[in-house]
């Protein structure tokens, strides 16, 4: 099964605009983002802190809906999901 992961703003510059990732049953959003970013040290460090937790300002969306980073480790993903990862918004 596959999901689409999209990065925006500074995260996009570091990790690319999007990628498709395969996953096994029981994978959660936190594991998925870790596995996609771990090979890119700068990108990983922009999103995760020294303890491997999401940095407090990181925003996650699953199919356009916010998922609090504190819930990402227990939020499952489904085939065809779109996961977005981005820093605080700065429009206007």
């Amino acid at each position: 099964m596959t999901v689409r992961i999209r990065f925006f703003a500074r995260f996009r510059e570091l990790l690319g605009a999007e990628s498709m990732a395969g996953f096994k049953d029981g994978t959660n959003i936190a594991d998925l983002v870790r596995s996609v970013t771990e090979k890119n040290r700068e990108g990983y460090n922009a999103i995760f802190d020294e303890s491997g937790n999401f940095r407090e300002f990181v925003i996650l969306m699953q199919n356009g809906k916010r998922v609090d980073v504190s819930d990402a480790g227990r939020t499952g993903i489904s085939d065809g999901d779109e996961i977005a990862v981005f820093p605080p918004v700065a429009g206007g």
Partner: protein, 140 residues
């Protein structure tokens, strides 16, 4: 008109179209690229989420402040100093509602709509820090 677009926006035309029956006040907010020792700015949006979010904000403002008409046009792409970034045009029966509605919309956009700005300078560029109010917990 609620839109995210690369093209410039004709604010005069929006003001004309905002004159709905019962209008007593129209407030225009025009966000402009400021010369902060930059060359230009680049705006990026998660459009599939940002557009419905703008529509939701417009609907909420209309209900909350009895607005008669709302336009929100946010531009993306590369913009030079002095160009329009964001136009908000609201009409209402009275100035109080029009001012309050316009203010509500811009403040909501600042914290809720996934759009980002990068200032391009001679030395490279810097992302404009966003509002942290919707950051979240620290552990996973």
């Amino acid at each position: 008109m609620i839109a995210i677009q690369k093209e410039d926006v004709n604010i005069a035309q929006l003001v004309t179209e905002a004159r709905k029956p019962g209008t007593g006040a129209i407030v225009v907010f025009d966000g402009i690229v400021r010369d902060d020792d930059i060359r230009e700015i680049e705006l990026e949006a998660y459009t599939e989420v940002a557009l419905p979010e703008l529509e939701k904000i417009a609907k909420e403002a209309t209900a909350k402040f009895s607005l008669l008409h709302v336009d929100i046009v946010h531009r993306i792409g590369r913009l030079a100093i002095g160009e329009n970034i964001l136009a908000i045009v609201v009409s209402a029966g009275h100035r109080q509602e029009a001012y309050a509605g316009s203010r509500f919309i811009i403040e909501e956009i600042k914290v809720k709509v996934p759009i980002w700005k990068k200032e391009l300078t001679r030395d490279g560029g810097r992302w404009v820090p966003g509002e942290h109010s919707h950051g979240s917990g620290k552990t996973v």
